[in-house]
Amino acid sequence: MDFEAPLPTPTPTSAPFWAGLKDGVFRMQKCNDCGGWVFYPRNRCSHCLSDALSWHEVSGEGTLYTYTIARQPTSPHFAREVPQRLAVVELDEGVRVTTTLVDVADADIRIGMRVKPVYEPASDDITLLRYRPA
């Protein structure tokens, strides 16, 4: 049984986001009708269901909304990553992203601390979005 951590397969809708990460840029959708930021990428706005969405470069920075340190792998695919520093970051645009924390000692992790993106290549095509203290 192969327990490689599963990588995302971009979709026609999300491709600009993943292409951005590969280039070290966080691209996020914004609704042209209601002005709401949309994450994860969708074909319609998660505030008003408009399909008038456009891509914008953002800093990707935000604050740590919550985290946990998983002492047991969350699935066999992540056994090598234990302890997993799983986190949710609230971006300055108000949306939240699932991520993991890197370059931080467990004792220094604080909910509410400023964090910034780390663009970590995971394959030739996919770059994942990790976070570290700003």
Partner: protein, 400 residues
């Protein structure tokens, strides 16, 4: 307001014993469904031919057309059939839908079953589907989880509930001993429940806090134990209930609320969907949290219990730890909660784990809880929780 009139109630039930290692004869899900249906009908004093509605969840033997498959197997045509996909809230969702269908006059005897014993080993062994390792998290292409959550290891339930608890702690503070007390009192109830996985096995606060840390701040004993089991209830109209054997538990109020699948995307992680669901249920039933004789709260984790106590209105937001410290949740206590031991004490038998809460409420209202019977039990609040506080439902059950 619109809603149920309390004209349908649970009149009978069946429950397999919860077992950590099931060694009895193995049957297919659909066979367990038939067994549980028959046992629950017998318990009510009804016959197979009385069935005219079923509510099910998935069965292992058929991915689609599940209700029709079950109806055919039972040999009983029905006017009402639903398949519910609400995880741990499935059973609560089954019961209110059955009651609603009965009040609409579509049917008058509805069986809701949740079989959860292992099925026979297939002699035509097939390779293990790698998707099984992701549990309820979907790795299908195009699934938001597959793309934005799973690649980071945000898989299954433990990490989500742990992150809810951590967020709660950052906003309101955290008392690990209070969280452990929830387990201790439920295990005390389970210790007197012969159907519980932890029958005769109470624990102390020290035991809970000394158990292995799984995902901070959740210790192993704050997380449910998966077991084999299964259960069913029969919901019937007031007219049918008159010829049944037991005191009916009328479904007088319900609410249901869904928000997210993955907690990352919840607008507010510490105000959970059980809040709106419970307000609806209480309003429909015309009762208040202080009016109930017992609560049976869905308890996959201690944090689920804490947030449900707050969001359902038994105490204020941020007051849960004090509430826990101030009350006794055992059957001898001032706030009887999860009197069967809950899933933390009795074990979680798949979707039947979420049936254990309404079933225990019914058992108490019927006066059939044996050593765990409360002195007076006429009104019970019940909750169900699916996913990671993503889909929740509440019931108010009452005896006449």
């Amino acid at each position: 307001m619109a809603g149920l009139r309390g004209e349908a109630g649970v009149v009978g039930f069946a429950e397999y014993k919860n077992e950590r290692r099931y060694t009895g004869p193995r049957k297919f899900t659909i066979e367990q469904w038939a067994d549980l249906a028959k046992l629950a009908l017998d318990d009510a004093g009804l016959s197979a031919r009385d069935i005219n509605g079923i509510v099910c969840s998935d069965i292992r033997e058929s991915g689609m057309f599940t209700p029709a498959t079950i109806v055919e197997y039972l040999g009983q045509p029905v006017n009402f059939a639903e398949r519910i996909d609400l995880g741990g809230a499935t059973s609560v969702g089954m019961i209110w839908r059955a009651a609603a269908a009965i009040e609409l006059g579509i049917c008058d005897v509805v069986v809701c079953a949740a079989p959860a014993r292992p099925i026979p080993s297939n002699p035509n062994s097939r390779p293990i589907d790698p998707r099984r390792y992701f549990g309820a998290s979907s790795v299908e292409w195009g699934s938001p989880q597959a793309e934005f959550d799973i690649p980071y290891g945000n898989v299954a339930q433990n990490c989500g509930y742990a992150m809810i608890a951590q967020r709660y702690a950052s906003q309101f503070g955290y008392d690990p001993s209070a969280m452990a007390k929830i387990v201790v009192h439920q295990r005390a109830n389970a210790a007197a429940n012969p159907n519980a996985a932890f029958f005769g096995q109470p624990v102390t606060v020290e035991d809970v806090l000394a158990s292995k840390m799984i995902a901070d701040p959740l210790h192993m004993l704050e997380i449910v134990m998966p077991v084999a089991g299964g259960s069913a209830v029969v919901v019937a109209s007031r007219e049918v209930a008159r010829r049944c054997k037991h005191r009916p538990a009328w479904v007088t109020g319900f609410g249901e609320h869904l928000t997210i699948k993955t907690p990352t995307y919840a607008r507010d992680l510490v105000h959970t969907p059980v809040g709106p669901a419970s307000r609806e249920a209480f309003a429909m039933a015309g009762v208040k949290p202080k009016d109930v004789d017992a609560v049976q709260l869905y308890d996959c984790y201690t944090i689920t219990v804490l947030l449900t106590l707050e969001d359902a209105g038994f105490c204020g937001k941020g007051e849960g730890m004090h509430f826990v410290n101030d009350h006794d949740f055992t059957t001898a206590g001032d706030f009887p909660m999860n009197t069967h031991g809950g899933q933390l004490g009795a074990g979680q038998a798949g979707l039947a784990g979420g049936m254990s809460h309404p079933l225990e409420a019914v058992r108490q209202i019927m006066g059939r809880a044996g050593d765990l019977q409360l002195g007076q039990c006429d009104t019970v609040y019940v909750s169900g929780t699916g996913g990671v506080m993503s889909e929740q439902a509440a019931l108010i059950l009452r005896g006449d």
